[in-house]
Symmetry: C2
Subunit: 203 residues, 2 copies
């Protein structure tokens, strides 16, 4: 791609560093900003800079937060004996939107993935084990995605905490509500049969 302007080329280059944004998409986005009033670009740039420079991570659960202790951890009505282990803030948002969970979270910041150079040291695992050691936690719920990396991470954490007096559980895998059985994959369907629940519990 030959650009008629270095400024344009630079903006497109930086935009295309974002995941899933190629050069063509980046050019489309940048040209859109050029057609809009200058304030839009200013607002975007300021929002990104302010966020990057001043955002904090909750010192207890590592969730993204504007203050030292996030709203969830600071809420006295949440059950501090339940800790749900998730990969990142999006999972916290997804679970919160169900309004079904009243415990706390622990955000790992990723999954163990040797191929990507992510070992246990890169994740917030140590602080989780410390939390369990202190004895306040009664149950650790694993809510990572069920990929090989997710299962590895679950097992690693399980091995770290099993010596302490703590229950461990993992979220249920099964057929999505509203899905047809015939289109489900065998592993999911198999698990949903193995881990069937008493009918009264499902009412």
């Amino acid at each position: 791609m030959e650009f008629s302007s270095k400024l344009l080329e630079n903006a497109v280059y930086e935009m295309s560093q974002l995941p899933g944004i190629g050069k063509r998409t980046a050019l489309r986005l940048v040209l859109h900003l050029l057609r809009q009033p200058e304030t839009q670009t200013h607002h975007l740039a300021e929002a990104l800079l302010t966020m990057r420079d001043t955002i904090k991570f909750c010192e207890k659960c590592h969730n993204i937060s504007d203050v030292e202790l996030c709203e969830i951890c600071a809420n006295p009505n949440r059950d501090a004996s339940l800790v749900c282990v998730v990969e990142d803030v999006r999972d916290v948002m997804a679970i919160e939107s169900t309004s079904q969970y009243k415990g706390l979270y622990h955000v790992l910041g990723g999954k163990i993935s040797p191929l990507d150079g992510i070992g246990p040291q890169e994740l917030n695992i140590y602080s989780l084990v410390e939390k369990v050691k202190e004895g306040e936690v009664k149950e650790v719920i694993f809510a990572l995605s069920s990929t090989m990396e997710g299962d590895t991470t679950n097992f690693y954490i399980y091995k770290q905490v099993e010596t302490y007096n703590v229950q461990t559980s993992t979220i249920a895998r099964g057929i999505s509500v509203g899905d047809e059985l015939e289109y489900a994959d065998e592993v999911t369907l198999g698990r949903s049969i193995l881990h069937r629940i008493p009918f009264e519990n499902s009412l």
Copy 2:
């Protein structure tokens, strides 16, 4: 979507103002920036701000440029009697990448589209007519996309310049090089038959 941080929410909101970027994609992009070193966000924000605040449009062809007169208009080896009318800078880049065109460009900045509130006044049409009036231009080549808006814009400009001593032409429509005839749409195929060229010219 419930955000745990106002800063995050604001950054996601501004990002999702870009075309084709929804809230979920915006969140993914913003979280990516949070995982990368701070410098990446700084570079992105600075590149966008510098571009938006200091970029210029060539005073002759309205192409994006770092200086008053763009490289193409300033090049004495380009044929100033040929003017190719295009919609935006991406079309200039596309035509330049073919290395087949040695004339100048005129960037309209859009197409006439009454439904979107874009009339001839919103586009750089007046300066094109003035250019033609001055007499240096011998041929105006229309290279807008062949949509209803593109055809309308072509016809509007044609009506404005036909009284002056200038040739008008439009880029050839036909079967793409490498395409199979059976998969071509009827309009394109029809046009490629109507506007057939002497075989010797295609060698």
